[in-house]
Each structure stands twice: as structure tokens, then as C-alpha cells.
């Protein structure tokens, strides 16, 4: 008995390369396919240190708050990929955090139905650390027309940003909101139109955080980043798939 527990513990700690050896803790029917898409044949391990925070159910499937927190792996991170297994467009974002930024980000997303939400963190030793949580939802978030589609307000305010710095016990937090319809392209006769790139830059022009966003990010995105050096000046730069670029001092 003792031996079998020891083996079990051992096997949990060794990253798997062949998927069949590891069971998806969220029992998602699409796990294998998602793994192929986002991780391929790389080594991976399900790792509770990669935290995916979300409510148990999507009260509004067009605005589901998610927080991805990989602070426990800070300093070792190459990139973080977040996705929703059962969304028609699964990829949510890929995030490249600089060591000077806390690898934690909060934003809101659209979901089409109840689904596993995942974050896979690639560390410098070439192992993916996969975290996730299940979200219950009535559905329809990706095929609901954006509010902007019925209201021309966004046309004259596209890319307008509001931001605020909040001092924290250590460092500080930036929260910013940008006016953008973030159309998925899945609604009849409304082409996809969404922000693809986000960069938070230090005063010296260095990219502290680079993110590639996909269509499931909610309309008028509100994004929260935590920086370690609250005293420094930062700016944010965005680019959408129409080639529009927006930049603002934070």
C-alpha cells in the first residue's frame, strides 16, 4: 500500500509527455485536443500553483471575470496561454510577463457554454504547468452581438482609454478600460474586430507585459496588471486587427 502511494506521488510529480498517462482533473471532453493545440508534445504537468480564479457560474456570459495568477512560478515564466475548452474560439490570450511584473492578470471574457477555463504556464525548463477551473454557464456569450453593434457611441470613441493606478502593499496595480467592440466574427454580418496586442511599457520603453488577445476577450476590455515598482511611470499600447494603434500614459 505504502509503495503504491509513493509511486502515485512520484508519477504526479513527473511531467508527462504522453497524454494518456495523465487524467484531466476537470474531465473535459476536449482536453486531448486542447493539449495538442496549445501544448503539443511538450512535457506538461497539472499544477495547482497556476491559479485560475473565476465565479462558479457565468451570471453574464458576455462578461465573465477571470484572473490568472502564476506568481508561484514568478521568474521562471516564458509565457502563459489561457483558453476555454468549449468555446468556439478557444484561445483567450498569450501573456509574456517580464520578471518585473507580477504574473497575474484579470480581465473578462465571453463564453458560449459551461466550460473548463485553463491557463498553461511554460517555464524556462520547457515544462508546461497547467491550471484550470470549471465555469458553469447558460451560454451564448460568443454569438451575442456586442452592445456597440446597436449603438454608434464606439465609432467616435474607439480606443479611448481610462486608467488608474492603485497603490498596493507592494508595488501597485494598474487597471485600464478601453472602448472597443471586440466583435468575435461569429455573429451574422458582423466581421471580427478585436484588439490583438497589448503591451505595458516602463518609462524607459521596456515591455513589462506583452499580451496577444483573441476574440473571447469581452467588449470594452477592463484589464488589471500588478507591477512590482509602483514608483515608476508606465504606459499602455494596443493594436487591433484593423491596424489601429492606441497608446496612453498610465
Amino acid at each position: 500500500m505504502k509503495t503504491s502511494i509513493a509511486i502515485l506521488l512520484l508519477s504526479a510529480a513527473i511531467p508527462a509527455s504522453a497524454s494518456s498517462e495523465v487524467v484531466d482533473p476537470l474531465e473535459s471532453p476536449l482536453w486531448e485536443y486542447m493539449r495538442e493545440q496549445f501544448i503539443g508534445d511538450d512535457k506538461f504537468v497539472f499544477d495547482e500553483r497556476v491559479k485560475v480564479e473565476l465565479p462558479e457560474f457565468a451570471e453574464d456570459p458576455t462578461q465573465v471575470p477571470i484572473t490568472i495568477d502564476a506568481e508561484a512560478l514568478s521568474g521562471e515564466i516564458e509565457r502563459i496561454v489561457a483558453w476555454a475548452d468549449l468555446n468556439p474560439i478557444q484561445h483567450i490570450f498569450t501573456y509574456y510577463p517580464h520578471p518585473d511584473i507580477v504574473p497575474r492578470v484579470s480581465l473578462r471574457i465571453k463564453v458560449q457554454q459551461g466550460t473548463a477555463i485553463r491557463a498553461a504556464v511554460l517555464t524556462k525548463d520547457n515544462i508546461w504547468h497547467v491550471g484550470g477551473r470549471y465555469l458553469d454557464a447558460a451560454g451564448g456569450g460568443c454569438t451575442t452581438p456586442s452592445v456597440a453593434n446597436a449603438n454608434p457611441y464606439w465609432e467616435s470613441h474607439l480606443g479611448e482609454m481610462k486608467s488608474r493606478f492603485f497603490p498596493r502593499q507592494e508595488g501597485g496595480r494598474y487597471k485600464f478600460k478601453v472602448i472597443h467592440p471586440m466583435d468575435t466574427g461569429l455573429v451574422d454580418a458582423i466581421p471580427e474586430f478585436y484588439i490583438q496586442q497589448v503591451a505595458v511599457r516602463s518609462g524607459s520603453g521596456q515591455d513589462l507585459a506583452k499580451m496577444d488577445l483573441s476574440q473571447p476577450v469581452s467588449e470594452n476590455p477592463v484589464i488589471t496588471f500588478d507591477v512590482r515598482n509602483g514608483g515608476e511611470k508606465h504606459s499602455v499600447w494596443l493594436r487591433d486587427n484593423g491596424g489601429n494603434e492606441f497608446e496612453q500614459e498610465l
Partner: protein, 307 residues
């Protein structure tokens, strides 16, 4: 008896028990004042088990006919309700009111389709817009209890502030705090206040369509000015004192202050939904569940204020 036979019998019995239990709300009219009864709902959320019976509905028997206040979450409920009313009074049902456009208050309308159904004008347009979606969602939430239920709109809109029915004088008061269009009915003869979902008591309030916490709180103060003898909340136990209104004010204040403080500190939604709920409200059913929903409904507006 051998094992095989026992198994077969066991299967048979278990199947039978499923078939032998038709869905029933088993509504019991409870007299709360002279000529006034209510059907009390459970302090729960919609589920397959309760069939959506989480709401207080009621009726008043006047000399010239019966006034029904809200029709419940399903056709089945509406039918049971009507039957229970007809067991208590032989007087015809004259008026049916939908206090607001939420599914647990109007989806029994089909059972009263031969009678004029009244709502505030805005409630009627809200029902025209959202009624079908609400009905669909109820099928998802409570299942077969909803069989044959369809959203049926009120046939008339309320264009008066009072109704004289025999010796009963009913004040029809429009409020907005819960959904933007909330009817409160006060019977001046008996002192019974049908507060609809303007008041939740011992069950956390819901906010998907509130025009604002502060506005709702201001309207609770107006309800306090009414000299009622019995208050019937939309959800929760009836009361002869101001405890339900005091609880509403305290909870709305706490909610407002909590969301302001959270937005000022720059918290993300996932941080806000984990904030502690004041000890004062731990006895309120579903307080965490509804707080999480409220954050989804209202926090973006609070965030907006502190950008």
C-alpha cells in the same frame, strides 16, 4: 427469494415510485389578514426540486370579486393556485396583477388567461422584450415543472393609483428599485402591504435589473412611511413590524459601501466576490450566492466611477 428476483422487484419498485410521484407544488393558502391569503415560497434559488416555488403570491377576497397578486413560476403553479383560491371563495377572480417582469411572478399567467391581467406599463414592455427568454431559462433551471408554460403578457396596463372594490380600497403604488418597474399594493382596509420584490426578507435580494442600489434604498424609506399592519415580502416570511425594511436598508447600505470601497482599492471582480459578508447578514439565505451575482450586475458601474 433469490437475489435475481429481489433485484427485479427492487427495480420495479424504484421505477414505480418515480412514476407515482407527479410534480405538485402542494400550495397551501395561508390567511394573513381578514379576506387575505398568501402562498408562501421557499427561501431557495430555482431548482428541479422546488419547481421554482420560491416566491410569495397572494389574493384578496372583496365583495365584488377576487384580486390575485402574482401568478408564480409556471403554468402548473398558476393552475394549482387558482384551484386553491376557488376552494376558499366562490367569488369570481376580477383582477390579476403581475408586480414586475421576473419569471417567478408572471409565468403562471396562462392559468388566468380568461381574466384581465394587469401590470405597470413598463413591466408590460419589459415582459414583451424578455418574457420568452425568461421562460426558456426557467425550463433549463427547473425542468419538467415548466411543461406547457409560455410567457403570456398582461392584457391591460395600470393607469390608476387606486382601486375601490367593495369595502376594500387598494392603493397601487409604482416603485422602481428592484427592476425599474415594481408594483406595490396596499390594502387600506386590512393594512396588508404586498411589497413585491421591493422587499426581500431573510433571503438575499437580487439585482439583475435594478436601476441602482441608492435609488432602491431611497424607495425603502418611502415604504417605511406606509402605516401597514402586515408586510408581505416578495420572498421571505411575512412581518408585522419594520424588520424587513430595516434589513433591506442595512443590506443595501452595506452593498453600496462594500462596492465603493472595492472599486476605490482597485479590486478585480474575482477579488470582490470573495470579500467577507458582514456578520449582520449571515442569517440571510443565499447571501453569498446573490452577492456574487450582484457583483456581476453592478460592479462595472462602480469601477467606472473610480477610473
Amino acid at each position: 427469494m433469490n437475489i435475481k428476483k429481489a433485484l427485479v422487484l427492487g427495480l420495479f419498485l424504484s421505477c414505480q415510485s418515480v412514476i407515482a410521484a407527479p410534480l405538485a407544488y402542494d400550495l397551501q393558502a395561508k390567511k394573513v389578514a381578514e379576506n387575505t391569503w398568501i402562498f408562501k415560497g421557499k427561501l431557495e434559488d430555482f431548482s428541479n426540486k422546488n419547481g421554482g416555488n420560491i416566491v410569495n403570491t397572494g389574493f384578496i377576497e372583496t365583495e365584488v370579486g377576487v384580486v390575485v397578486i402574482d401568478t408564480g413560476p409556471s403554468l402548473r403553479y398558476g393552475k394549482e393556485m387558482r384551484k386553491a383560491i376557488e376552494q376558499i371563495t366562490k367569488k369570481p377572480i376580477k383582477y390579476v396583477f403581475n408586480t414586475h417582469h421576473h419569471p417567478d411572478h408572471f409565468l403562471g399567467n396562462q392559468a388566468f388567461s380568461d381574466i384581465d391581467i394587469y401590470s405597470l406599463p413598463k413591466t408590460k414592455s419589459q415582459l414583451a422584450q424578455h418574457g420568452n427568454a425568461f421562460a426558456e431559462n426557467m425550463y433549463r433551471l427547473v425542468g419538467d415543472w415548466m411543461r406547457s408554460t409560455e410567457a403570456q403578457l398582461p392584457t391591460k396596463t395600470i393607469d390608476t393609483t387606486g382601486l375601490k372594490l367593495g369595502s376594500h380600497h387598494l392603493k397601487l403604488m409604482p416603485f422602481t428599485g428592484h427592476t425599474g418597474s415594481d408594483l406595490v399594493v396596499f390594502d387600506e382596509k386590512t393594512g396588508v402591504l404586498f411589497a413585491s420584490d421591493m422587499v426581500f426578507y431573510q433571503r438575499a435580494l437580487t439585482t439583475p435589473h435594478t436601476p441602482g442600489i441608492q435609488l432602491w434604498r431611497d424607495e425603502i424609506s418611502k415604504l417605511k412611511a406606509i402605516n401597514y399592519k402586515v408586510l408581505i415580502p416578495g420572498h421571505g416570511p411575512i412581518s408585522a413590524n419594520t424588520a424587513p425594511l430595516d434589513q433591506m436598508s442595512a443590506y443595501l447600505n452595506w452593498l453600496d459601501n462594500t462596492l465603493i470601497a472595492a472599486a476605490k482599492a482597485g479590486l478585480s471582480m474575482n477579488e470582490v466576490i470573495k470579500l467577507p459578508i458582514s456578520d449582520e447578514f449571515t442569517g440571510i439565505k443565499l447571501s453569498r450566492y446573490e452577492f456574487v451575482r450582484t457583483v456581476a450586475h453592478l460592479y462595472p458601474e462602480y469601477e467606472e466611477r473610480f477610473f
